[in-house]
Structure formats: C-alpha cells, structure tokens
Symmetry: C2
Subunit: 222 residues, 2 copies
DNA sequence: CCCATGGTAATGGTTGAACCAATTTTGATT
DNA sequence: AATCAAAATTGGTTCAACCATTACCATGGG
C-alpha cells in the first residue's frame, strides 16, 4: 500500500509534535511555509490539515492560522505514547473500555438477536476453529464476531462506536495477538457466549462476555 | 457558522444516497462530473470525497472510481433516519449506549478521581444551579460534567470515545432538553454522583449514574 | 497617554487548468 | 478466440492566481 502524499504529511506534522517542536495550543506554521518545508504543493498540505481537522486534532481559522486542539488530545497522547514505547498502556486502556461496554452489549443482544445472526456467529466460530487447525491467520474473524454482536444489540450507535474502535485497534494491533493460545482462548470464549445467547439469558451472556474479555486481557498482557 | 463549501457538498452527496439515486456498493459519478453538477471546483468535490473517505463511508481507487462502502454504514443509516424523521429512535439509542457505558465509567472514576477533579465537578454543578436560578441556558455544563467524569476514569480511550459521542449528541440535540424540569433532574443526579464519588464507593457511584441516566431517559422521552 | 480607526500584510479558502499515475476499455493483430 | 498495445477514463498532484477573514500596526483624535 503506497501511502498517499497527504498521509505522509500527516505523519510529518505528528513528528513535529512528538519531537516537541510544536505542542498543544500552538499555531502551526502557515500552509505555504509547510509546503516549501516538506517540498510538496500547498494543496497536499491542505489535505493533511483537513484530515487532522476532521479528527478534531487541529482547528483552522481563516485569516489567522491553524491551531493544535487541546480537547481530543488522545491521538496526540497516542503518538507520544508510541514514541515512548508505552503501547501496552494503550492496549490496556482499550481492553478496559471493552470490559465496560461489551458485557452490556451481550446483555442487550441476548434479547434482540435474530436466529440468522446467531447462525452467523456460529459460522464465524467454525471458521476460527478451521483456521486454528489449518494454522492459518485468524484474519479479522474475532473482530467480526464482536462487531456482529454489536449489530445484534439492535443499536446503531453501538455499531458506530464499535466501528471506530476497530479503527483504533487496527492502529495498534499488528505485533500482538495471533498466537495459538490466544486463538484457543478466543474460540472457547465465543462458544460460551453463543451458548448463553442461545438460551436468551441476558445476565449469563453478560457474564460470559465479561470473563471472555478478562481472558483476552490476561493473555495479551501477561 | 457559515459552512465550508465542501461540507455542503458532503450533504449533497448524502442526499443523492438517501434519495436512492445511489446506494451501497455503487460507484460515485466522476469528480469532474460532480463538480459541474454542483457548480463548484473539482478541488472542493475532492475535499468532500476525502472527508467521506476519512470516515470510511467511501473508498477511492485511482484510475477506477469512488465507491460507497458497505461496512460502517452507520452514518448512512443515520442520514436515512433523519430523512424519515425518526430522530427519537436515535436519541433512545444514544441514551441506551450511555446507559451501558457511563455507569462503568463512574465505577472506575470512584477509585481514580483526584480531589481537584472532584472540586471541578462541584463547580460545574454550582454553575448549573446558578444558571437554573438565573433562568439562563445550561450551555454545555451537563456535557462537561460527563466528559470530565470520563477523564477522571484515567482512561484516554474513554475520553476519546466520549468526545466523539458528544459530536453525535450535538448533531441531534438542539430542540430537546433545556426545560427547567430537565435542569433540576440533571442537578440532583449530579449531586448524588458526586456524593458517591466523594465516598470513593465504586458500586454506589455506578448505581447513582445508572439512575441518573434513567432519569434523563424518562424526562427526554416521556 | 490611550485607544479608536483605517489600511496593510498575513493566512486560510476557493478556483481553474494542467499534468501525472493507475485502471479500464477498446480494438487491432495474431 | 486470445493477447497485447494504444487510447480513454478516472483519481492524485501541482501550480498560480484570486477571494475572505483576521491580525497587526501606524496614524490621528480624544
């Protein structure tokens, strides 16, 4: 995947930040200056700035300049954390977040899930087992399982938040995961959840999800 | 707030979708065509497309075209819901989501909150009471209270998700809220939460938040 | 001395045209 | 019919100019 021009510029701007050359509240250099500095057209710089603005990391004021936002500094913290190498903290936070949300989703899904969705969940776990035996990569099956559950809750906001969360996970996944033990942990957890959902037992589903994520947490952070 | 050119174009493209002229998986008309059709420069069209791509609503392939994504169709669902006028459903979903997440946040915050943050919460509620008596608008105080709580949980992912959620809320707030009864509900709920946090009692905090959001739900959806 | 007022420069927003790069389509050749 | 090369289509990038808004500053009146 060749990155687009503006994406490399986004990275360069982030470097300026994590190298301390710029910090929260500061005004970015004018677009024309950045263009010369990075040896690209002003248009590409603008694309990068717009991408950052779309994520509320930066705010442009016509006639004034572009400022680094103080709110929503999570992604800045993230790039900082990446620089320091404290990626595990972020993983733990993501898991903590999931520990809060997903059991509740499972609870809702127990009442709302359709037979077709239940079948789809079973298919996913089947595929997981197959890939475990065939020593293939788990691909996105785990992610798909949890996303489908959010969908089964019947709440579009859940799905939306979850989609965003997946983006976060994709950012910082990669090295972790994909061991055989983790695959097994994932599968046994999913089976228990499906069992609870099939009985349409909300609190049992909630509990199954709770211990599932706890298992993941221990496997990943051991 | 005068909207930027590309924002109005994003809206126009969404209209094309919700009017059924385009649907999931379809290829968008070429940028040059859209530019003529909307009577804007191709560059502005490209800004709009990039904004949509940034949210994974659309995917561009050089030399081929721009396609509407099937995944992450939440925002499409949203614009559809808005078109039908089913805004209440969305509100209910957002509250259901908060009902899942926020009590857990309160639970975490009970252990992690700092005295300074606790003071800040008290100040917010004071301001709320003042504005209630002075018959002024609640502004963003309620939002600030809940955001600060997410911050007090000590988890940056929480804050991040919450910031995004606020964007959603801002989208669909406006007409609702702002009645005097709702202000009172908000304040009494917040006071109980602060009380529980001060005792550093996780399950009491969780419970206080649970009934607080339940109150909001009943007030807003009655 | 202060601070309004207006002009000027700096900065982001928008446009149009041209060209590059990747892909699809077309059509001629074998 | 299959294959390959040329052409057309489409998104990606650059450049140069201009518009709209804001900050800055010098000037002059209180």
């Amino acid at each position: 995947m060749k990155p687009y021009r503006y994406e490399t510029i986004v990275e360069q701007i982030r470097e300026l930040i994590s190298q301390g050359e710029l910090s929260i509240g500061d005004k970015l250099p004018p677009e024309r200056t950045l263009a010369k500095r990075f040896k690209v057209s002003r248009n590409s710089v603008r694309q990068a700035v717009q991408a950052l603005a779309e994520k509320n990391l930066v705010e442009s004021r016509q006639g004034d300049g572009t400022y680094i936002c103080d709110r929503n500094n999570a992604l800045l913290v993230d790039s900082l954390a990446r620089a320091i190498g404290a990626e595990k903290t972020r993983i733990r936070e993501i898991l903590e977040f999931r520990q809060c949300l997903e059991p509740q989703i499972a609870r809702l899904a127990a009442s709302a899930i359709s037979p077709a969705q239940l079948d789809r969940l079973k298919i996913i776990v089947c595929d997981q087992q197959r890939k475990l035996l065939a020593h293939e990569a788990d691909d996105l099956l785990d992610q798909e399982f949890h996303s489908l559950l959010a969908q089964a809750s019947g709440n579009t906001v859940m799905q939306e938040v979850f989609a965003n969360l997946n983006n976060l996970l994709n950012e910082s996944r990669s090295e972790f995961l994909q061991s055989n033990t983790r695959k097994r942990v994932s599968i046994t957890g999913h089976l228990k959840i499906i069992d609870a959902l099939e009985k349409r037992d909300p609190s049992m589903s909630q509990q199954a999800m709770e211990s599932h994520i706890l298992d993941i947490e221990q496997t990943v952070l051991n």
